[in-house]
Homo-oligomer: 455 residues x 2
């Protein structure tokens, strides 16, 4: 190869290599993952629907200003934001809530309560790590309108219903707290900058205790109270016993409606899922806009980051639209959930599915095989159809490779007799059956498997 | 208001207004549309699965170069492309195929045939118009590996199976052609620049006939053949009669395997869906990379742009990876489909769904109501639960507003007796039933509605 040519050759190679790379922080999801992932979407959406939540679909691009109003500039650096061809700063949506609130407040005809859910992609320009890609799906569920302990309980109950539906009961905990109660405790302990204190407490579990003590002392908590305060933050209390804990720290709670409300929530929650909910005073959530209950779910082993998180945010709609609309909701990403399901051996469709392979030993009789395969498919059962002119041995080999449970042979002989050969690939049993009887079995089987006729 | 203040006030107003606007060309999808849209996704994905296609999920962001390789710079101006924070040119994905091929060729362990489908969002920076937003969903199905008339038929058959599954049988046609045959016809008529001719023929239906004649004459077709050529392009022939048409224009087709193959395809297709497929010589598809069969679906009334389109593209994988992998596939957007379903009155879940409303006349007995509602939900039936302390009249009003079919009342009286009051909201019939009997009915109902016990 001469020099000129080799330069061109290597440039082209470089060009092709760059072009074929996936963008960093993004993920190609092949069928072995994509198929079990469908269960995450189906279980979550079905759960939302049986709770009476209705689906919305949101744009994946918004004006950057939508997030500035709520989060200031801090979020901007984490967004995939860019100038559109008209010079406006737009961004791939980093989260659901601002768009949900925009959609809600831009129509006046939606009766309350509004129960909405969505499950779509979001993007964050963060350093990729285990369980955190730059692109992810997030389920989001919110109730707008009424504000009560029952509403809070329903949203948190939906979160538990989804995780239980995925088989995770006993493998996760939902940690609950209330910002009103925390503010009360903080003020009683001499702290005035509540927002700052929440930021520090949000990092409690990740901060060395010496450092945490210094940080919280700096905000005004007397040194002699810090030890006890840290103990409180460390305790997990089953939610049934939350009232006793709260009575221990807040003394006039009998007359405070916000505290009464949290106590009521603590009594309702176990009905949604016993043994799942815990009072955790260190759960305060990083985001600034929560106004009441806050919650996060973690795996019991503590191996992963949070599975889902949410809370009450009664002032956000007002910020956008001037309308005061109480709201409570949560978001649940797909990544940690998928990792946890894999870790627990729950990342699979457990049901063994019937699957046909329609073999065609004589390609002159292909069209009746097409009609037969479509009849099976129309009854909701997968049917692979041979698509190459090749011998039966190769077709049966493919049937096994594709995981078929049932083999149908339809060739010249069968066609002329009006028959099919139907073989169970597991046991090797086989029957000869008329075309019409086979169709009858398919159509009458309800939701069960299509099985050989009784003799 | 003084001047200074009013300036600030109006600036703020402007700021908020901009922030709350949806980005142009994007769509907020509320439940009344989002819920019937679910059927588009469910029917398409289920159809793909019963055909043995497996789901993949692809990134929504790719390097711009991935599209340059395939489409040159023409596509670049239609992409939402931007520089990432590392200065690389990336883009929101405008279509599926390049990513599908990238995913396929970047792994060596995937056995052929590969049947893959996906259904996700894409973006095009085009002028928004009816049925064309800047963001849309597209179903994509492809078979890689074997190349035969049977493979082509299966992919086109899947397209018909999806549209039939949505209730559109008889409301659409799939127009079929083969680029090999068209090239043959064009060469026989003196045309050498085949790519250019395809571009012109692709616009045949939108071009005034004088202009079309001039364009095609310029490419070398003798003037006296143009009239006949245009007639050929105008004809729609039921696919069963394709062989006769082809014999009329191509004279030695008995010995040409490519033409034999198309004739075979024309004989298989009606088995997938009789009356659906037509030979249309004006269907050539705009994209440069098709190598064999091409097809597009249109509504019979001709009201809308194409519903779906696809074809065989045997050389694309080689362009990316050096591996020759025959391929055939199609893409189907959500927008035209939704418009057509609405136009035909098919844009709805037709099944009338049972839905419970659990009323709680006494909030002191709320937790048993939570447990009951969750029991109904766990059996797959939606249950609204009252979430406010209010009288029964308001709860029943809400039950009707939410479209509930069944009302359960669980208050002090019912709880103490171990009973429920169960009322059918349509007929007004009601029964008193023990909690346990109700649960038994729920659990034993299979896939039917939960109905009152036989007396």
């Amino acid at each position: 190869m001469n020099d000129r040519r080799s330069i061109i050759y290597f440039s082209l190679l470089h060009y092709l290599t760059v072009a074929l790379e996936r963008v960093r922080g993004f993920r190609d999801i092949y069928p072995e993952d994509s198929e079990p992932r469908k269960r995450i979407f189906e279980v979550s959406e079905k759960a939302a629907e049986v709770f009476g939540f209705r689906k919305i679909e949101m744009p994946s691009v918004e004006h950057m200003d939508l997030y500035r109003i709520k989060s200031g500039d801090e979020l901007v650096s984490q967004c995939f934001n860019f100038l559109d061809k008209g010079g406006r700063q737009i961004t791939l949506t980093p989260e659901a809530t601002p768009t949900v609130v925009r959609m809600l407040t831009s129509r006046k005809d939606i009766p309350r309560p509004v129960r909405w859910y969505s499950f779509q992609k979001y993007w964050r320009y963060e350093e990729p790590q285990a369980g955190r890609q730059r692109e992810f799906y997030q389920f989001n569920g919110d109730i707008f309108g009424p504000s009560s302990a029952e509403v809070d309980a329903e949203v948190i109950g939906l979160a538990a219903f989804i995780l239980n539906g995925l088989g995770l009961k006993g493998h996760y905990r939902i940690l609950i707290n209330d910002r009103y109660i925390m503010e009360y405790i903080l003020r009683e302990n001499g702290i005035k900058d509540i927002a700052k204190a929440f930021t520090i407490i949000d990092k409690f579990k990740k901060t060395p205790s010496d450092q945490f003590s210094l940080d919280i002392e700096e905000l005004g908590m007397p040194k002699d109270r810090i030890g006890h305060f840290c103990e409180m933050l460390e305790n997990l209390t089953p939610i049934e016993q939350a009232e006793a804990v709260i009575q221990g720290v807040i003394h006039h709670n009998g007359s405070d409606s916000q505290i009464q409300r949290f106590v009521r929530l603590s009594k309702i929650l176990p009905a949604y899922s016993p043994g799942t909910f815990f009072l955790d005073l260190s759960t305060v959530r990083g985001l600034a806009y929560y106004t009441g209950v806050v919650f996060e779910a973690f795996d019991v082993e503590g191996k992963f980051r949070s599975i889902l998180g949410g809370g009450r945010y009664d002032n956000l709609a007002e910020l956008y639209s001037g309308q005061k609309i109480p709201a409570v909701g949560f978001g649940m990403g797909d990544a940690i959930l998928e990792m946890l399901l894999k870790h627990k051996g729950l990342f699979a469709y457990t049901k063994k599915e019937q699957k046909f392979y329609v073999a065609t030993p004589d390609m002159a009789y292909y069209t009746p095989a097409v009609i037969l395969a479509n009849e099976i498919r129309s009854n909701g059962i997968p049917a692979h159809l041979n698509i190459n002119d090749r011998n039966m041995g190769m077709q049966i080999k493919e049937a096994n490779k594709e995981g078929a449970t049932d083999l149908i042979v339809l060739g010249k002989q069968e066609f002329e007799a009006g028959n099919l050969t139907w073989k169970k690939l597991g046991s090797g049993e086989q029957v000869s059956i008329t075309y019409d009887s086979f169709i009858d079995i398919l159509r009458s089987r309800g939701f069960g498997e299509a099985d050989f006729p009784e003799v």
